[in-house]
Amino acid sequence: MNARVRNLILNGLLIAALGAFLFWAQNNLDGYKIQVLNLIAVNAILALSLNLIYGFTGMFSLGHAGFMAIGAYVCALLILPAAQKQAMWILEPLIWPLSVINAPFFVAVFSGGLIAAFFALLIAIPVLRLGGDYLGIATLGFSEIIRVVLTNLSFITNGALGIKGIPAFANIWWNYAWLVLTVFFIVRLVNSNFGNVLKAIRDDEIAAKNMGINTFFYRVLSFTIGAFFAGIGGALLGSLITTIDPMMFRFVLTFNILMIAVAGGLGSITGSILGSVVITILLEWLRFVENPMVIGSFQIPGVPGMRMVIFSLALILIILFRREGIMGMREITWNTLFSLGRRSPERNDKGGETK
């Protein structure tokens, strides 16, 4: 049995195991824990999309919240029932085609991704001529512009009031199906020679140009694909928490995703997935520090936002002591797992991911 067939079978088994776990979780875990599982999937999609842009192509982009916002709004507008839309838009009525249009959840999420990608393409063409920190500042600016525009387009977005009561279609199955699709797409892309091209641009853009790579095209491509999956993630997030408003898509959201991607390991797909599991769980678990506590004879009042202080400290520690994150640029693949036992010198990097 060659490695390709073996990896294919193992990938199939892994997805089956994931399915079985989700089935078990749905029947045995309470709503809160399921919500955490949902958030893990959505965060993983978002971290992967940022990792494609920043980790694999080396473009420091801080515009993720903007693309998520576009995805979330597009999806919400497509899945809200017409009657509910009529009741909710009180500042200005919703304009015509949007007020009656309705689409199945899959189509709505997909459209969210596509429209986010379209706007990313528009932004990319002027902005990706910049590099390094300048790119970070410019994308951050665009992300804020998107948010301000959303606040003011009240005949589409209901302005600052936001959209409430979005149908909660994003259950555990949808979220994990989209995660598997995202992982599949990005793994295939990154493991092909096109992935090598993206990494070449990250490592040395001048040498990449010299190798005949149209670096601008591939930077725009990577940015647009990343924004597509950011839109998907945003769409799922909107349906998951059923309420969206422009204030939700501030820089902090981008920062959270960036934290997951950096902690997991820039340039590592398995790292992004592990990072989202660890950080999402920690973020929830650390809520206890915000409650009033009694240590010995000390009474500590609850401080909201305390867990973000702890997280900032954790991030500083990561940057100081393990800059490459959990995984660095390494991946856990079936091949690396199998060669762990055997220590065989021959490696075949074409293997599938362990998720």
Binding site: F184, A207, A208, K209, N210, M211, I213, L221, G267, M329
Partner: protein, 264 residues
């Protein structure tokens, strides 16, 4: 010098950076299928010439013709596509990638399948990926690095990194190869090997090679024709013997004082 057709020709190439003229009125005809050299003291403008030919600088004046086509001002990736490849003075490998991946990146410019075929995993796409892998492996064999295929490129020794950079340049299927100081930092033994290696790849891949080099043993050993630059101006050209006895070249390298002293 005019017997073989010129593969690369530059006409009055001039590059100014503000008030500084790095290269002025540089006109050469590089004959096809030869190994030729470009020498000159530090700061003479040799690398600037390379950067203009490969599209990194747009010349202030003058034109560059490659294989009969005007390539002046083309983007670097288009220059590469037309069949020119180069190495860098300070090695520029993709340091996070393996040795094999470095060469595979070089194969990208000739590939036909598009990026969106990658997630779909179409058979034609997979076949092309496989052929890229095979071609890269063959290239690694031809430079003697196949044992290190899966090692990170940064872990190679200095000489091996130079050879890898050449293998990567060859992966783009060039007709014309520019080597920027290939022997820099090599000991005499290594530069001897390098000379044999350069002759070998020239024959094997039917290339024209233009090299910049400070190691005169290497230059005089492999080049059939040499141009000399000093302060951006071409001061001499000819075969190695003619260059070695050219008064202007000696003055440029050793200084007028020294030449006067030696003559007296």
């Amino acid at each position: 010098m005019t017997t073989p057709a010129a593969i690369l020709r530059t006409e009055n190439l001039t590059m100014r950076f503000g008030g500084l003229t790095a290269v002025s009125n540089f006109t050469i005809d590089v004959p096809q299928g030869k190994i030729v050299g470009l020498i000159g003291p530090n700061g003479a403008g040799k690398t600037t010439v390379f950067n203009m030919v490969t599209g990194f600088y747009r010349p202030t004046e003058g034109r560059i013709f490659f294989d009969g086509q005007d390539i002046t001002g083309l983007q670097p990736h288009m220059v590469c596509r037309s069949g020119i490849s180069r190495t860098f003075q300070n090695i520029r490998l993709f340091s996070n990638e393996t040795v094999l991946e470095n060469v595979m990146i070089g194969c990208h410019v000739r590939r036909r399948s598009k990026w969106w075929m990658a997630p779909l995993g179409l058979p034609s796409f997979r076949a092309e990926e496989e052929s890229i892998r095979r071609k890269s492996m063959d290239l690694l064999k031809s430079v003697g690095l196949e044992r290190f295929a899966e090692e990170p490129s940064a872990s190679l020794s200095y000489g091996a990194q130079r050879r890898l950079e050449i293998a990567r340049a060859l992966a783009t299927d060039p007709k014309f190869l520019l080597l920027d100081e290939p022997a820099a930092g090599m000991n005499p033994q290594e530069s001897q090997e390098l000379m044999a290696f350069i002759r070998n790849i020239q024959k094997r891949f039917d290339l024209t090679i233009l090299l910049i080099e400070h190691d005169m043993k290497v230059v005089m050993g492999v080049c059939e024709y040499i141009w000399v630059l000093d302060y951006g101006v071409k001061i001499a050209e000819g075969n190695p013997d003619a260059i070695q006895s050219d008064q202007k070249v000696i003055v440029a390298y050793l200084g007028e004082e020294y030449v006067k002293y030696a003559e007296s």
